[in-house]
């Protein structure tokens, strides 16, 4: 297990190095570091002096090293538009995105597991067929279209739910602005969460159903029944625990997709999170912020994937043993 842990973490570090290299290359080739500091109207002689002073004429690798060292200290450069450290801007926006992702994941987990298991156990029941039909339609509707339709029906048409923004927020310790503690904030969460989960839910229902169906045909399920175990235990402990492994792996990968889709959802709902911020940064050609977002989200993905792999290792006895050797 320990060797497995080390291997996985080394890999994560390596991926982060590659990401920082990409980010740095973008910054070098697209962005203009002087603009961040000086603005546009500076004479050529002054610029050259400044270039030399900032070490911008040093070799590429040396500059990358400096970029890395600064990044490790939390300095990802300054946002051209906000005139503030990019990381600070991102951290200010992160709670909005993370809360959206969290409530969406909750929705997906709570719905996909029972529906997926049900559809696997009773594949011919009309309700199961209905769920499967809805889920194939679900994967075919782009997330931004779902979002627009939700707004049109529930905000413009019925006027039940708000269509943009986060509503009333509460500041928690450490400056985390949360919408979870006011009814207005929760109301604002509903439509974006449904829209965002509309793309994940069908996928997970189909995955859980397929895996569960496969597991239910195995000998060890029949054997569990032959041992006289209660049906619930056969289904959940013997059946679902075995489907959990592929579901966890896919879940880790899909968390990345979820963050990608927050860009779309936040744009539609004008949700003040990292995704909307990223699109604004692209529109304003705010290279530092774009790169900072790349590095931040990259770090987030790598962390999540590493944790998922480690959890997978904990659940799957085979890996645990392989690691021990």
């Amino acid at each position: 297990m320990f060797a497995f842990f080390i291997r996985r973490v080394t890999q994560a570090v390596f991926v982060m190095l590659v990401i920082s290299l990409i980010g740095f290359t973008i910054k070098q080739s697209v962005g203009d570091p002087l603009r961040e500091i000086t603005g546009i109207s500076v004479s050529a002689a002054e610029r050259d002096a400044l270039r030399e002073k900032l070490g911008l004429n040093d070799p590429f690798l040396l500059q990358w090293g400096r970029f890395l060292a600064r990044a490790l200290q939390g300095d990802l450069g300054n946002s051209f538009y906000f005139k503030r450290p990019a990381l600070q801007v991102i951290l200010g926006k992160a709670p909005a995105t993370l809360e959206l992702v969290f409530s969406t994941s909750l929705l997906v987990v709570l719905l996909s597991i029972p529906i997926g298991i049900y559809a696997a156990v009773r594949p011919r029941a009309w309700l199961a067929r209905f769920f499967m039909g809805v889920s194939i339609v679900g994967v075919s509707i782009p997330v931004f279209l779902t979002a627009i339709l939700l707004i049109y029906v529930f905000s413009v048409g019925l006027g039940w739910l708000p269509s943009f923004g986060r509503g009333e927020l509460v500041t928690l310790f450490g400056g985390w602005q949360s919408g979870y503690f006011t009814s207005d904030g929760l109301k604002h969460l509903i439509l974006p969460s449904i829209a965002l989960s509309s793309i994940m839910l069908p996928l997970f229902i189909r995955l859980i159903r397929a895996e569960m169906k496969e597991v239910l045909e195995t000998d060890y399920i029949k054997y569990a029944r032959a041992k006289g175990l209660k049906p619930g235990r056969v289904l959940l402990v013997h059946g679902f625990k075995n489907t959990l492994l592929p579901v966890i792996t896919v879940g880790g990968v899909q968390l990345g997709t979820l963050i990608a889709f927050t860009i779309l959802t936040e744009t539609v709902f004008q949700w003040q999170g990292m995704g909307a911020m990223f699109i604004e940064a692209v529109d304003r050609a705010d290279t530092s912020l774009i790169v900072a977002y790349l590095v931040f989200v990259g770090a987030l993905f790598v962390t999540v994937n590493t944790v998922v792999d480690l959890v997978y290792g904990l659940v799957n006895p085979m890996i645990r043993i392989a690691g021990r050797r």
């Binding site: 029949k222 029944r225 006289g228 175990l229 209660k230 625990k241 799957n316 043993i321």
Partner: protein, 322 residues
């Protein structure tokens, strides 16, 4: 003392629901098993012997179902029992041993979990007491350091060790009957004899009944007191082991014995039965064996032969025997 048999199977019929009508996999099978007795069911694959075994516990995989017949076990009619009552018999009064120990144990649960849950499913005792029982059974199947073994996962065991575990699980609730479906087929030849010996010894010492399902006549004659030979879903011959193996009546049983390598003199040819067993869609009318039988006569193609007493204590289904 107790004259009533432990298990009495009467006219058991199991069918598979197919798109174009049903297929009969087990056709009016009847036999009795006395308390502590050991019966071997022999036949080629597809003869319906495994389906019969699973049918006793109503565990036939879909689309199979029990279409008729009676299953009287310890005075209770299993076919009429509600699912919950049947569950309490499974793994408790009747245990099963499956063919491939690689596939029967759940890969993500420890051996301990898989043993303890079997006890707790049937008895209201504490986890510690259940663990004590599990340890006792592991000792009975002669696996060293049982304490440590309980913490381990199936893939940490060899094939033979796993089958020992499966046998230990079968013993957990001291059942009256064990149904073993090809328990040695998936194992190395060198281990097969050990496992059989273990199973036989335990059945004798614990006074458990055994139904041993196998395609191997040699294996059955080592273990069972009585043998039932199945062909295309029916029992064609049933009787004491010495009779069936020593003086077979039915032409199919004779053919099976002739095909055993140890019966053939060195350098001689194996006497294989010509042709193949028909698939369930193509069982011939009349005697199911008629299209392969060298003795086949007109009557065999028209009428199904009944299972009748033919020789000492032996029943066979053939028109040509008297």
């Amino acid at each position: 003392m107790d004259r009533q048999p432990l298990l009495s199977v009467r006219d058991l019929e199991i069918r598979f629901r197919m798109r174009h009508g049903d297929l009969t996999a087990v056709n009016r099978v009847s036999f009795d098993l006395a308390r502590g007795d050991r019966l071997g069911i022999v036949g080629e694959s597809g003869a319906g012997k495994s389906v019969t075994g699973f049918g006793i516990l109503n565990l036939v995989s879909k689309p199979g179902y029990i279409a008729g017949g009676r299953l009287l076990f310890e005075g209770r009619e299993l076919t009429a029992l509600p699912e919950e009552d049947l569950r309490q018999i499974r793994g408790n009064r009747i245990s099963m041993i499956f063919q491939d120990p690689m596939m029967t144990l759940n890969p993500v649960l420890t051996i301990g979990t898989q043993m303890v849950e079997t006890i707790l499913a049937h008895r209201a005792i504490s986890r510690a007491e259940a663990t004590a029982i599990a340890l006792d059974r592991i000792r009975k199947v002669a696996i060293p350091s049982p304490q440590k073994r309980l913490q381990q996962y199936p893939h940490e065991f060899s094939g033979g060790m796993r089958q020992r575990i499966v046998i230990a699980i079968a013993l957990l609730n001291s059942p009256a009957l064990i149904i073993a479906d090809e328990p040695t087929t998936a194992l190395d030849v060198t281990i097969q004899a050990d496992i059989l010996e273990l199973l036989l010894g335990l059945c004798q010492s614990e006074k458990m009944g055994l139904i041993l399902i196998t395609h191997d006549l040699a294996v059955v004659s080592q273990v069972a007191e009585r043998i039932a030979v199945m062909y295309a879903g029916t029992i064609v011959e049933i009787g004491p082991t010495a009779q069936v193996a020593g003086n077979p009546q039915h032409p199919y049983t004779r053919g099976l014995l002739g095909a055993l390598p140890q019966r053939v003199p060195r350098g001689g040819r194996l006497n294989q039965i010509p042709g193949m067993m028909p698939t369930l869609t193509r069982v011939p009318e009349g005697c199911p064996f008629s299209n392969r039988c060298t003795l086949c006569e007109e009557v065999c193609r028209r009428r199904v032969p009944p299972l009748e007493p033919k020789a000492a204590g032996c029943l066979a289904a053939c028109h040509l025997l008297d």
